[in-house]
Structure formats: C-alpha cells, structure tokens
Subunit: 250 residues, 2 copies
C-alpha cells in the first residue's frame, strides 16, 4: 500500500537476503524498471532506501550493486552484533524480566529437537531466532530494529563467505547462555556471548564459487516481480522480446 518504492525495496531486500542476488551483482535502473514495470525514478528511490540500510552500494555515475563487504567489515558487523547483545544482557541486570526467559528456553528446546532429527537447516533457523528473542527481551523497538539491521547485513555475508557451522556446539552455547542469564551472572554471560560470536565468525570461509552463481536479475526477482497493475498477470514469464542477447556475465 505505502509507496511503491518501499515495497520494491522490500522485494529486492528479500531477494538479497535469500541469496538470489549475490554480492557484487549490478542493479541497473533500466533493467529493474522494466522488471517491476515502474519508472526509473521509483527504482532509484528504492535503491536509495537499500543503500541507507547498507545492503546496496551506489557508486556515482556507475550504478548500484549489491553490497560486497570486505572481510574486515564482516568482522565489524559480527563485533557490532556482539556489542548490542552484550549490552542487552547488561540491561537485563537492571530490569529483570526473568519471566520472559521461558521463550529463550523454548527456543533452545526447539533447537535441540531439530538437531535430534538431524535437521541442521532448521536448527540454524532457530539459532538465528534465539538472538532475536534475546534482544526482544528488552521490549525496546529501537534496539530491536538496530539489531535487525545488523542481522540483515550478517545474512548478506552468508552469501559471500561459505559458512560451516558446528550447530551442536552453537546450540550448546545457547543453552549455557540461558543458564547464566537465569543465574544473573551477567559478566560470564557476556563473555560466553563473545566467544559464541567468535565461533560463528570462524565458520566463515571465503567462497569464490558464490560469485559464479550470479544469475540475471529477471530470474532472481521473478517470483516477486508482480506487474504494476492491480492484478494483471499471474505469471511474469519470459518477457517478450524487448532487447535480449546482452546478458554476458563479465
């Protein structure tokens, strides 16, 4: 409903976070405007939104690209996640919301159950959710949005650096973290959290093949690229011959 550029930005964001658009991919204004059937200006506004969020970098007179953070910046993102969540733990000391720990315990149980069934994919999802729940304990929307932004940037990194996690150990640390929080041992909890994120960061390796997996924009955005009309076509399908044959990957 609200602004067309807003929902286009959300669509592109979703495509980036699900790795259908890989870091470094060019986001051409003309191409996107044809895909979404809007004018270039709306596309540019969407790209501005994404660039403010850190998911897209705009180079003057060259265009917009999916952000491709350096390894140094990747470390900084994880460190920032650590900082925020350590701060959240410190806040728990002042305003004990121990009743809310139930949610954390429930999440850990779901992680363990998923691991018991050998579903590491699902366990990973729950593992991400754990950190959301931790920040949600503050009931502070500003902090929650801050954390969500950092997490978006972290998910972007997953596309760039192959991750190889020891889900067992990660889940175990989550459980120990809940115990420490329950015992109000904030300092120990912060220390464990730091080690936890360092373990996560160690799971990342440079992945050259990810960049080879680049696919054309109209494929990456096909699912969500609905025509401008209220309900014009159910299928974007193959676009009828505008101009084709210039999609060589550089």
């Amino acid at each position: 409903m609200s602004g067309r550029s807003e929902q286009i930005a959300a669509t592109i964001c979703e495509a980036i976070l699900s790795h259908r658009l890989v870091p470094g991919a060019k986001l051409g204004e003309r191409e996107l405007s044809e895909i979404f059937r809007v004018s270039r200006i709306v596309i540019r506004q969407a790209l501005i939104r994404l660039s403010e969020d850190g998911l897209v970098t705009v180079e003057r007179n060259r265009g917009a690209f999916v952000a491709k953070p350096s390894l140094a910046e990747a470390v900084e993102v994880f460190e920032s996640l650590t900082i925020v969540e350590q701060g959240v733990i410190a806040q728990l000391g002042n305003r004990p919301r121990m009743s809310l720990l139930t949610e954390l315990r429930g999440n850990v149980e779901r992680q363990k159950a998923a691991l018991g069934h050998g579903n590491e994919q699902l366990a990973g999802e729950f593992g991400l959710e754990f950190h959301d729940l931790l920040v949600a304990l503050t009931r502070n929307r500003v902090a929650i949005e801050l954390h969500a932004q950092l997490k978006r940037r972290a998910r972007l990194l997953e596309a760039l650096y192959r991750c190889d996690f020891d889900h067992c150990q990660l889940c175990d640390e989550h459980e120990r973290l809940v115990v420490l929080i329950g015992r109000r041992q904030w300092s120990r909890a912060q220390q464990l959290l730091d080690e936890h994120y360092r373990l996560v960061a160690r799971g990342y390796r440079i992945d050259d093949e990810a960049l080879a997996a680049m696919r054309p924009l109209h494929l990456a955005l096909a699912r969500n690229a609905e025509p401008a009309g209220a309900s014009a076509a159910a299928k974007p399908a193959a676009r009828p011959g505008k101009r084709n044959g210039k999609h060589a990957h550089p």
Copy 2:
C-alpha cells in the same frame, strides 16, 4: 561532489540537529525545491534518506515532517545508547586498548576546565564527545556509525524536551567511568553508565514552547541561521493569519 540529494539531506539534517527545524515542522517538497533550487524529485530523495535515518517521518499523501518522537520512543533511544555503550565496555574486556584511555582522560580534563570557567555550554559539548570517544575505542566503524545514528536521534529529542542537566555530576560520572575502565571493573562501569544515562534522561522535561518557536523553512535553512532558542522570540508569529501548530502526531 556526490549526489545532490545527499548533500541536501545533510543540510536538512544539520538544520534539524541544530534545532533550527523543530519536530513536527512540515517539509514541503515544493517549498524545499524552491529553497535549494532543485527539482522536487531530488528533494524527495533527500527526504527518503532522512526518513531511513529516523529524523523525518513521511506520511503517505500528506508529506514529510521532522520526526516528533513520543516520550516512550525517547526513552528507547537513550536505552539503546546505553545498550551500545555497555556492549562497548564489555568488548574492552576482551581487547584491552588501554593506551587509548588517554583520549578519554584528556576529554574529561577539558570538561573540568570548561566547568571551571563556568562555560556549561562547552562542557556539554565535551560531554557528548566523551561518548563518541568511548565507542571509538573499538575501532569498529559499523558500531561507530550505529552509535552516531542513535546520537542524532537523541539530539533531535533535545529540541522537543527541554533539558536541564547537572553538568557537574555528569562530568564527575565520566571521570569515575574512566577510573573503573582503567581498573578493568567492567561490570561496575556498565552499571555506572546505566545510571549515567538515567540521569541524563531525567534532565528532560516536556517543552511546549519549543514547538512555538517554529519558523518558516527558508529562514531555518538560511546560511547564517541561528538555533531556534536564541532569536526566535524576536519574531514569534511570522506567519500571517494561517493556521498555527495544528500538527497532531499520534
């Protein structure tokens, strides 16, 4: 240099942070486009940038306004600042950069000197800088930018809620904070920081007169404009006969 909309956004941001544009003020596209001598689209792009930063809110088909955070949101902003800085302190425990404490000590000395000369204004400036330096200790640009964004929102609040600080006590707490960090008493330091920000938050009172200080855009954005508090009383009612202050903002 880089994008026209970018520098216009920076100019408007600066005007907001120095309280020449008060919360709730309308940012009309046509009016701004005439002031900056650019097309409306560039203005809209600048407004989008500012809205992503949280300094302006855009309401569909109604326009853009300088953000007017509720008291609840103000509390959340300060709590988030606390969270980030507490996390920074926790990080200092892992990577001791004690040599950089010199900068913090120097800042405290400048605060005390300013207070000694009775210059509370200058002491307040140094007080803000103290928290920047604290976060800068991490050498983490992502965290620094995160903190800077929160501080911009905090400075916006100063225009909405009149602040009445006990600069002596604030400076004293800064000094004690440096001592605690030097002694590696991270937990105590975090606790003191929390109390510190609660003291700051208590200094804020609802200020109705600030909204009355609204002035036309072209005056607020003039090159050599002064902050709202000083010379606003000279011409309180600049608008002839139009409606005044009817900007209810849920």
